[in-house]
């Protein structure tokens, strides 16, 4: 078994708003190995996004442990969490979150300028197949293209982990497949541990492992017996 990248023990998260307590995570134990491609499935409110945010260094757990390699994330200061995100984590979001005033290339450069050992923006865009359109502004790109720019931006720093929250949520099937292809390709080429949150059951076939969330817990975790290429799925 290769090296463990993520490990959580009894991870809980309680949101308190006024008198109401919402238990988003109720004790999650999870591990992911280097290079693993994991799909996280589950209904809305099952805790998958909260989990991804905590291991991505965007949020803090209420209790329990979350380890990235041999670092305990809950002991990181705000500044250390920022550096963790900057150096190790690539994010891809449902709504792309590109900077509209920057072209595709510049959006990628935004990250390569602050990363430690980045690839060139053009290289990252080539990986996602967008070399031809790299001087376009987000408003001039389709949704799928924008999401691929977001992927290029996430991978350009050569992250150890790639965290994607509903990356195809806003896309149609055909475009979504292109995005998934890009993600599997990156996972293979760079060996980045990839976690993808989705509602879309069809996507589970491209993963090494599928983890089901329900009511703040991991309900099941199954290895995919026969992994399919992204191009072969549709929904």
């Amino acid at each position: 078994m290769s090296q463990t990248v993520f490990r959580t023990r009894d991870l809980t998260k309680v949101y308190v708003t006024g008198a109401i307590e919402v238990h988003a995570l109720r004790g999650v134990d999870f591990e992911a190995a280097a290079g693993e491609f994991v799909v996280l499935l589950g209904p809305s409110g099952s805790g998958k996004s909260t989990f991804l945010n905590i291991i991505g260094g965007l949020d803090r757990a209420t209790s329990g442990e979350a380890w990235f390699t041999d670092h305990e994330l809950s002991r990181f200061s705000d500044r250390e969490l920022t550096l963790y995100r900057r150096d190790h984590v690539g994010f891809v979001f449902q709504f792309y979150n590109l900077v509209p005033s920057l072209t595709a290339r510049e959006n990628v450069a935004l990250v390569t300028e602050i990363a430690r050992d980045p690839m060139r923006p053009e290289e990252a865009l080539a990986i996602v197949g967008l070399k031809e359109r790299m001087d376009h502004f987000p408003a001039q790109l389709s949704g799928g293209e924008q999401q691929r720019v977001a992927i290029a931006r996430a991978i350009a720093k050569r992250p150890q982990v790639l965290l994607c929250d509903e990356p195809t949520g806003a896309l149609d099937s055909r475009t979504g497949v292109l995005v998934l292809e890009a993600l599997t390709q990156v996972n293979e080429q760079l060996g980045a541990t990839t976690l993808i949150i989705t509602h879309n059951v069809a996507i589970q076939d491209i993963a090494h492992r599928v983890v089901h969330f329900g009511n703040g817990r991991i309900v099941s975790s199954n290895l995919v017996a026969e992994r399919k290429p992204a191009s072969s799925i549709s929904w």
């Binding site: 900057r86 979001f93 509209p100 920057l102 935004l110 502004f137």
Partner: protein, 787 residues
């Protein structure tokens, strides 16, 4: 309350910092309007009421000596309501507590009947007993400055004889509201006062029993002042009349007029600036609010609200802010206006104060403030009215950015992407960017346009007292004397050098324009009291002809080579025509200069002088002052350095108040503009900035993006602000200038620097306040929502 009104209230509460920042700018506009117009009206009314109640005269004339019998003849001049003859003389005083020689204007009050004109306003004590030779009433400021109480005594040299006078009362007079001695810059109450004596006593002292030396007239409503002056001059010509004049040439009245004119000038420049900035802020904020509320606007319209109803809702938002601004502005304006009027009243020693709260001012201030807010809102509201509900309910089209320079350029310069974001965001909304720059520039300009005055005053002082009038004392003789008097002055203790001068009152004519001035005769080689050319360098007095001060030349529309006519108001009252041979630079008063021998030739007299300018060794001034206090030949001794010190003291006091007011006003604008811009920019880019935080940008790196945007605006605004400020200063100079003094337009570099420092400081503060919001951006929320 309707649902829309509840929404309005909640919007205001939610956006309160921005709304308040705008309200403050509007308030500053309303306040400066009320302050300026209010103080102007209050002072005008106070002066008018004072003049009315105490029967301030309309026409004034001094003469050598005329028998009282002609008073009837004067009273019969058509248009004259009443005439009062009296004795008025300036004399030296020897005050126990004042080391320097002091002077007073001695004015007689009738023995047997009440005063008819320029009634005294008794502040304490009583009038002198008729027939008493030593009892006097003194002007209240003079009494206060010298700590005189009823019963205090002091000595005066009346007509060459020393007398001990006893104070029986203190009073104010509409004639001497601003009691300025000869060569004065501002009143020096310690060294110059007004002393009222019974007519018989003063007449006895000056050998004027049965005669008078001054007459004042009150004219009937609608009577011609010019005609009355002409008739009066005709009557007095035989008696050494020095030329009658109206209120325009009455010192106290003229200075008050100049002050009122300044107030008016200020109230015309500041309020429009604030209202303009406020209108733009309303526009900026409302446009953004409407963009954020597109869906709600669509929904309201879909629910059946008319376009006008929804538009009115947003207009109400602007008007509600204006109402808050008006309330603050009225409060601040009234309070400051009252304070300022009181300050003026104290400075001028008005016996009472009419603080006019003319409802019209408030209606006007409220009206223009509402109008400014509405004008700012109009475009945004028009968009709301025009927005079809179906379009409104779908999200706005994404902002389209364009690249202004080729890719290679950015790559070549290795400009960080964060900076590219800044420039593109600023370029994306050019109107907003430019108007923000203009707004900040106006903050700078308000400061430049007000702080310059202090440097200019210093410059005026430097030119007047270091380049032109370099003497430290001027002795003015009771009457003209021959040259030996000059040598006497030279031999006074401590005197290093001295120069004689002659002063002759004239009326000067060029075409239809005439002015009443004094011609100063100076030696051609004058080195103490010099005349300056256009480049402010000393020039030699022309041997012949007359040199006019720049201000006088402008009024007379005369230039070198023109012929002007002078009517001598002394002696034989001859008229003579003189060529203009020079234009002299100077800031105080309307002046004309001649070579001393030439002036004496014009007068058909020998070497005669009116006084002497001195430069003395300040180490021996006690000795000198002691001698001067007792000299029978002088009636007034000006001490230029003391005058200057007084002037600076007064300036310092005003300086602090003025600087506080203007700096606050400048900061309100700068803060209002920068804060609103930052909040709107944050609202537009909050999502992007939060995304950058997610991508691993530090808080400082993210806030740097927004702060650089503010920095670009603020820095770009500086030169523009300097230029506009210079323009304001120029406009104020035009408003300030009067025949009494002109203000040179000198804007020192330090003025620009301070204006910028203050504005940059306020911008920084508002930037830092917004920065706290950037630090608290919700990273998770931004990922979940589509804009």
């Amino acid at each position: 309350m309707s649902a829309l009104h509840i929404k309005l209230l909640r919007d205001l509460v939610r956006l309160w910092p921005q709304a308040l920042a705008i309200a403050f700018v509007l308030a500053a506009g309303a306040a400066t309007l009320i302050l300026g117009i209010g103080a102007y009206q209050s002072l005008s009314e106070t002066r008018a009421a004072y003049y009315e109640r105490n029967r301030f005269a309309d026409v004034f004339a001094d003469l050598t000596r005329a028998p009282k019998i002609i008073e009837d003849e004067i009273a019969r001049i058509p248009g004259v309501a009443s005439a009062e003859t009296r004795i008025a003389k300036i004399a030296l005083l020897d005050l126990p507590a004042v080391a320097e020689p002091a002077s007073a204007m001695f004015v007689s009050i009738p023995d047997l009947h009440e005063q008819k004109l320029d009634l005294l306003y008794m502040r304490s004590g009583r009038l002198p007993l008729p027939g008493d030779e030593n009892e006097v009433v003194v002007s209240e400021p003079f009494a206060k400055a010298n700590h005189f109480t009823i019963g205090s005594t002091f000595e005066a040299i009346l007509n060459g004889r020393k007398r001990t006078l006893r104070v029986t009362g203190t009073a104010l007079s509409p004639e001497f509201i601003y009691s300025l001695g000869p060569y004065g810059l501002i009143p020096d109450d310690r060294r110059y006062g007004i002393v009222w004596m019974r007519e018989k006593a003063l007449a006895a002292a000056y050998d004027l029993t049965g005669a008078f030396s001054s007459v004042t007239l009150k004219l009937t409503r609608g009577a011609s002042e010019a005609a009355a002056i002409e008739r009066l001059d005709g009557i007095l010509a035989r008696y050494g009349g020095l030329g009658a004049h109206g209120r325009r040439d009455q010192t106290s009245h003229a200075f008050l007029d100049a002050e009122l004119q300044q107030l008016k000038a200020m109230s015309r420049i500041l309020p429009p600036v604030f209202l303009l900035v406020a209108a733009f802020l309303v526009n900026m904020t409302l446009s953004r609010l409407i963009l954020l509320e597109r869906e709600q606007i669509g929904l309201l319209k879909a629910l059946g609200y008319s376009g006008l109803a929804v538009g009115w809702h947003y207009l109400e938002f602007a008007l509600a802010i204006a109402v808050v601004g008006i309330a603050i502005g009225i409060g601040a304006g009234t309070w400051l206006g009252f304070g300022m009027t009181k300050l003026y009243a104290e400075f001028y020693h008005f016996p009472f104060l009419v603080f006019r709260t003319d409802p019209a001012i408030y209606v006007i201030a409220g009206g223009v403030t509402l109008a400014a807010a509405a004008a700012g809102a109009v475009r945004a509201v028009r968009d709301v009215v025009a927005l079809p509900p179906a379009v409104a309910m779908s999200p706005p089209a994404p902002a389209v950015y364009r690249r202004l320079l080729p890719e290679a350029f950015y790559a070549f310069l290795a400009i960080p992407q964060s900076l590219v974001m800044v420039t593109r965001h600023l370029m994306r909304w050019p109107v907003r960017t430019v108007s923000s720059i203009l707004g900040i520039a106006l903050a700078v300009s308000v400061l430049v346009g007000s702080l310059w005055a202090f440097g200019s005053t210093e410059f005026m002082i430097d030119v007047t007292y270091n380049r032109a009038e370099r003497q430290n004392a001027t002795i003015s003789f009771v009457r003209e004397r021959s040259m030996p008097a000059y040598y006497d002055a030279l031999s006074l203790p401590g005197v290093l050098t001295a120069e004689p001068y002659r002063s002759v009152p004239v009326r000067i004519y060029h075409g239809p324009i005439e002015r009443r001035i004094a011609i100063s005769g100076k030696p051609a080689s004058a080195d103490l009291s010099r005349v300056l050319g256009a480049d402010l360098m000393p020039v030699r007095m022309p041997e012949t002809g007359i040199a006019l001060s720049d201000a006088l030349a402008k009024i007379l529309k005369a230039k070198v080579g023109d012929m002007v006519e002078v009517e001598i108001l002394e002696r034989d009252r001859r008229r003579a025509t003189l060529p203009v041979t020079g234009i002299i630079e100077g800031y105080l008063g309307l002046n004309a200069y001649m070579n001393l021998p030439a002036l004496n030739r014009l007068m058909r007299e020998g070497a005669v002088i009116s006084g002497v300018n001195l430069l003395y060794d300040t180490g021996r001034q006690d000795e000198l002052f002691k001698r001067l206090k007792a000299t029978p030949v002088a009636n007034f001794i000006a001490l230029q350095r003391t005058t200057l010190t007084n002037f600076r003291d007064t300036l310092q006091q005003n300086l602090l108040i003025m600087i506080t007011v203007y700096v606050s006003l400048g900061m309100i604008i700068a803060f209002g503009v920068v804060y609103n811009f930052a909040r709107i920019s944050l609202s537009e880019q909050g999502r992007e900035l939060a995304s950058l935080r997610v991508l691993g940008f530090h808080k400082s790196e993210v806030s740097a993006i927004l702060l650089s945007e503010l920095a670009v605006l603020t820095i770009a605004a500086q030169p523009l602000g300097w230029a506009i400020g210079h323009l304001f200063a120029w406009a104020m100079v035009q408003g300030f200038n009067s025949e009494l003094y002109r203000v040179p337009l000198v804007v020192e570099r330090s003025v620009y620097a301070w204006a910028s420092v203050i504005v940059l400081g306020s911008a920084l503060i508002s930037g830092l306040i917004v920065r706290r919001r950037i630090d608290r951006l919700d990273l998770i929320e931004v990922l979940k929502t589509r804009e």
